[in-house]
Symmetry: D2
Subunit: 468 residues, 4 copies
Amino acid sequence: MEAKESCGVVGIISSEPVAVKLFYSMRTLQHRGQESAGMAVFQDGVSCVKGMGLVHEIFKKDDLQKLGGRAGIGHIRYSTSGESALHNAQPVVVSTAYGDIALGHNGDIVNADVLRKELHQKGWAFITTSDSEIIVRLLANAISESGDVVGALKSVMRMLVGSYSLVILVNGEVYAVRDPYGVRPLCIGRLPKGFIACSESVAVEILDGTFLRDVAPGEIIRLGKTGIKSYRGAGSRNPAHCMFEWVYFSRPDSVLQGRNVFRVRGNIGEILAKECPVDADMVFPIPDSGRAFAIGYSTESGIQFREGLIKNRYVERTFIMPEQEEREASVMLKLNPLKYLVKGKRVIVVDDSIVRGTTMRKIVQMLKSSGAKKVHLRIGCPPIIAPCYFGIDMKTRDQFIAAEKNLKGIAKKLAADSVGYVSIDGLVKAIGLPRKSLCLGCLTGEYPMAVPGEKQREQRSLNGFAKY
Amino acid sequence: MEAKESCGVVGIISSEPVAVKLFYSMRTLQHRGQESAGMAVFQDGVSCVKGMGLVHEIFKKDDLQKLGGRAGIGHIRYSTSGESALHNAQPVVVSTAYGDIALGHNGDIVNADVLRKELHQKGWAFITTSDSEIIVRLLANAISESGDVVGALKSVMRMLVGSYSLVILVNGEVYAVRDPYGVRPLCIGRLPKGFIACSESVAVEILDGTFLRDVAPGEIIRLGKTGIKSYRGAGSRNPAHCMFEWVYFSRPDSVLQGRNVFRVRGNIGEILAKECPVDADMVFPIPDSGRAFAIGYSTESGIQFREGLIKNRYVERTFIMPEQEEREASVMLKLNPLKYLVKGKRVIVVDDSIVRGTTMRKIVQMLKSSGAKKVHLRIGCPPIIAPCYFGIDMKTRDQFIAAEKNLKGIAKKLAADSVGYVSIDGLVKAIGLPRKSLCLGCLTGEYPMAVPGEKQREQRSLNGFAKY
Amino acid sequence: MEAKESCGVVGIISSEPVAVKLFYSMRTLQHRGQESAGMAVFQDGVSCVKGMGLVHEIFKKDDLQKLGGRAGIGHIRYSTSGESALHNAQPVVVSTAYGDIALGHNGDIVNADVLRKELHQKGWAFITTSDSEIIVRLLANAISESGDVVGALKSVMRMLVGSYSLVILVNGEVYAVRDPYGVRPLCIGRLPKGFIACSESVAVEILDGTFLRDVAPGEIIRLGKTGIKSYRGAGSRNPAHCMFEWVYFSRPDSVLQGRNVFRVRGNIGEILAKECPVDADMVFPIPDSGRAFAIGYSTESGIQFREGLIKNRYVERTFIMPEQEEREASVMLKLNPLKYLVKGKRVIVVDDSIVRGTTMRKIVQMLKSSGAKKVHLRIGCPPIIAPCYFGIDMKTRDQFIAAEKNLKGIAKKLAADSVGYVSIDGLVKAIGLPRKSLCLGCLTGEYPMAVPGEKQREQRSLNGFAKY
Amino acid sequence: MEAKESCGVVGIISSEPVAVKLFYSMRTLQHRGQESAGMAVFQDGVSCVKGMGLVHEIFKKDDLQKLGGRAGIGHIRYSTSGESALHNAQPVVVSTAYGDIALGHNGDIVNADVLRKELHQKGWAFITTSDSEIIVRLLANAISESGDVVGALKSVMRMLVGSYSLVILVNGEVYAVRDPYGVRPLCIGRLPKGFIACSESVAVEILDGTFLRDVAPGEIIRLGKTGIKSYRGAGSRNPAHCMFEWVYFSRPDSVLQGRNVFRVRGNIGEILAKECPVDADMVFPIPDSGRAFAIGYSTESGIQFREGLIKNRYVERTFIMPEQEEREASVMLKLNPLKYLVKGKRVIVVDDSIVRGTTMRKIVQMLKSSGAKKVHLRIGCPPIIAPCYFGIDMKTRDQFIAAEKNLKGIAKKLAADSVGYVSIDGLVKAIGLPRKSLCLGCLTGEYPMAVPGEKQREQRSLNGFAKY
């Protein structure tokens, strides 16, 4: 239940105004970021509205109705690079010789600092601290040389190392671009009157659209009013889809690379029950993040499913006192054990993942002081032992409870009677894609791309887009 | 999942400052109302802070630290009478010959208009349109005559018809008062350094307190730093606890009249499975209101529990366009069926209750268009056919889908293959209290108190506080 | 230039909607108070909108257009009694047997605490701490006895001691009431389609209305759509019009008791030049409060008029640091001497009045360090030596620089070469009304009404309304 | 009294923190722009705070105390180029190979579009629509080539055509740059512990600093903690100081090019009295813009000075209804004639300038309907007949009342009995600088620089900085 968010992107082209459509799609992607949001639409030039907060707080009826274009992009942001401020909110819009270009980015450019330094040496000056400005200005520069958007995109993709799912609005056209590893999700759909590219399939459904397919790693797609066109953007490699999208990020009702997120979580729960069985009176989730896993665990183990922790749905993240005492109270404000249910019982508590473990320890303590006889933790993600460089806010090694502890030590630290994680093999099996097509960097310390100071996993070049 | 909220009250006396304690208690009661909140503390005189919005939005660190008193009350409001505005936010504070008096009220005074008219005739002028001003001014008037708070409370209780759980702050003392029928909940607890009266037991727990007992119908309790004192406030009757507190209002982790809310809901689900069985592939809830019922239904029926509808946790109630189209979209924004799960399946959907049924119809339609073969609705509350006069915002008969329809007609109207409600007997059994000690007015049209134009159920006077 | 504000009232009846009219009138009276404002209009019942801040910040187009009534009152507030908060903003609206009553009050009720205590003893409870609640509830009580608004107003006027200019909205009628001494201004005008009562004549003019006359001391006026009706409300006495309305409060373009404010200030300046002549190179005002006086001084003395101090029109009262250093800077931010003009010159600086003198001292110092050879202060109001109990925020004796000092001592304290005040006789002559018809309490320590602990000036009862 | 604003800049270097100093300086320059403001300070890197609104609304105590640097710049903006939004607020901060650079700009770059197009062709992409981004990015580019700030500034100055007073913060140093014509003001001063560059001398005085001198046209100045250093930035020409800075923009207490603004306005008034005499009973200003002129007119003509129009100081620019009716009312809300004074009189009304004349017409009408027998207008600025391209928001010819009318026609259009403007020669004489060192473009249609489609006045190259 710890926050580890990313960003979300949408691009729409239609024969009708797109602002309201963008608005609804963006709301379905709100779970991917709550810091800021913005949309840019094209009509003659590009108009852009951005703000801090949730989508429905930023865009008002009047704004949306004024934004009259038939092509547009939207972005939902949880800061992973660049200071957290309106200044860095996306889309980034620039004026160029080729007209206004707007860009929204989900991911993390590993070589951003290197690129920025190189460009500084050429006399470039950057107004924001975001990766997105680098990308869009490289793009503008490349277009001015080649006069061709797709060609320019290809050359920019050759420069970038990292994860990126991009939506780009240029001259009334919308492009969707996914990095050669396909780390962050990106898919396309057909709308009643147009086309959409977006982070997750739910954003297609809300507009009564038809999900078409995921954008392939390294693919460039141009959305047109009457059809879409695909280009190979970068020599493709083994894909490296972030396993965390299934475990935590994406909405349960999304389908990524053909795998429904809720179903994957249920699978994990079932495998977890096989891998880490324990005798107990009931199994229940940390609400709401652990629920799908817990149902799977219950189904496989035959141990009855219950709800032993009640969530206070009105507790926001803003607390008035930053002290320790406050944070202790905050867990209690957010979650409360059902005493009558757990008293004297051996309980299995299931959650999606553990990063630091501080919250989990408090939950176990609450359950114990509510009378639980045994508290067994079962976790739907293998131990996280290494940082993420591709879009998740886990950057330093010393924060991970699992980094240097064995299971017994972790259980002790968490005050639990036992701790069980799904294995990496189990996770891979639950997702149902080949292990080599997933990014497991935070679980293994081996990364699909070259990250300074980190180990890169073995690579194999592929011909054509990755297939599996 | 339709909103039918009430209010929440807290009163605390302690040897330490109470403002932060009130703050935490009020946050645990936030589900009882989100319109406005306020607290009043006593130190020399009464200081009061009120505002529109959620508790954590209204009270800032500085406010709470400035409020230095050792006795105070808090109120969380969802407007049931009086216009919705800061003007009518509670607590109401008045200056009297006896010092400042502050009062917070959960409930609905049935004879408020009659009382207001009588008092108008005596030359009284009212500044607010709330019942609470009537109560507190009658109280001030009575105290000036008797010079005795408890005596005055008794005389005011004799005048009031309706539901009321009150917390009152007068001269550094806190009183908790519950109407003779005990319609709305009110309980007391011991804190590490003081005492608390509050709407639900969760507000005791968050302060590391010990739940003591419910306030009895008709009881007046005075909280002191070293103990509590009980007075019989009104000749007691058969209690009439609102069944909706277990079905919907109260938090699952609260215990009302000795009955844990989540457990009652599970019981209802089990009884519902017995009363309205149906062959199906899975059972799932409308999240989150139907979950406890659905788990009970699954346990009893042996039909597997699933989560077939995914809730978007970031969708607020504020929508930008009030049109029909918007509202249709809003259900989809909030809930999305898991297509892979429901496709080709016979599903049982469980929710707590149906009032108007408009949302439910849309949910059924979404499930059908996601491929569900059969959709059976099972409802944890018997058909609502009559208004509530005691604190729930259901005032007109023509809004109820159940008011004039048989089950078949309702199913048709909801586009469902079948609809099943728990029976009144089943509900009563699930709660575990005698039928005669519950208010079932909205289910039967017979009310525990005289309501103009409505039928009153048979009464029996009791000696002493109601026991069961 | 020190702030010593009061309140403003307006009441309008028309055959057209009055909300926008009230809005404009209230804006012309904004100088009488900037803390909060409110308006109440009658249509079936009374609707009231109030807020903190300036008139144009509080009332939005939509509010005003929604407020559909043909009768209404408005109030602009600078807190003189009651805590400063929205809670105490006016108009105060109450529901009574006689319908809703709304009241706006400019003035100060001297016996408010005595009345409140008496009413407390009768069991009354007050929701606000304002005088206005006392007045309106006494009124409601009196109406319920007599069934007659005018009769009730008379009986309430008999109970009140203090200053009050009231506008009252009851059952679609607007009443204007002025205390028996006429301390605060109140006048009436004819509008193109109705009638208006308001604090100052400028509020008539902005609506293209025709000023009719001042409301007489002790008079009750009922505004009707086709005419006005006058009642004698209280046995009248010598009037006691606050001299400060001409000196400081009222707008220069207003006419009070037949005396134009700007002209009175010019007269004072001329008399001041006769009473306190001094040889100098130029005369200039503290902008903008002293300008009219300075022009008069220049005209009479023949010493050339200049602008030696430049005002920064964007300096608001909000400063970021409350420390002394900050306040020093704040005077400099607000006023800056024209060095080229004052250097080496003997200057006469004219202002309307001095209360504490702290700002004046800083101004003199700035002029000296800008090179002024001599700085002579000339003040358009005689020395203030006693508190005001009738609506000006000067309540404690020890704040007055003039209370215990002779002119030489004052000049020294203000770092000036000389200080000259207009005499009381000069002031009275400049206003042009008989001395006995003015309230000079803050200048003489003798008050027109009985104030506990203060000396009352000789009274003489009059028959009929005061004439002069 | 029509708004025709510009921007303001400040740069400070000190041995103490500069944020609070910038704050005070910026407040004294608030009259130069009220749309947005920002400051950037250097400590390790550059921190920047910007916002919409007035200086004291944007910067809070906490912000200022957190901003710890010893060098910084501030900017106050009234939009003259670029859309009006936070997005375009200044300072603009960029990261470069040379560290962060922040820039604040007052002026208008005539060839901005040309430059932008050229740079677009080179592949540059711009994030804002402001001239300032062009300047700062050209500067960054130039520094990366030369490695030398002053050299880079010189090369950028060679590219720019237009008016610019710049403050630049780079690597803890502050540079002040003024365009070769010195169109907009810029001066330097010594502070108790450092140095300041700012738009007007008042910003030096508020910090207890000593005014040193104006920055020369084409000069680059580097502020250091212990001294300042001057560089010749551009081959200088005849200066072209904007005459409107004396007539309207600058504060009366500022001194520009050695000429005190208030004194210049007084001079104009005197000359106006000589050039356009008329027999009348009194002379008064449109407050506050016309006051200095009117005093001068009165002094020279011997006609008595009065205040015949009273200004409502609380009327903001925000009006609730954009319709014509509203705007009519708005003039009345803002200004009210003193009827007693003007009735039956021949009055001379003096103002600084007329652009469109719509407001002036309403004022004349108000005076006439207040009974004025004759209304003669006297204007302290010669007729404006051509657009400004150097920083004033007068861009289209057809808005000027004077563009195609003779004096009689103008008087008729303004409903006045006569209109008199000061002559260009009179204006030049009043300022006291050689005609050739002033920009009179809006009066003559001949501009000091090449403006596409406009006539350029004769130029003469100078050696060294301009002297006169």
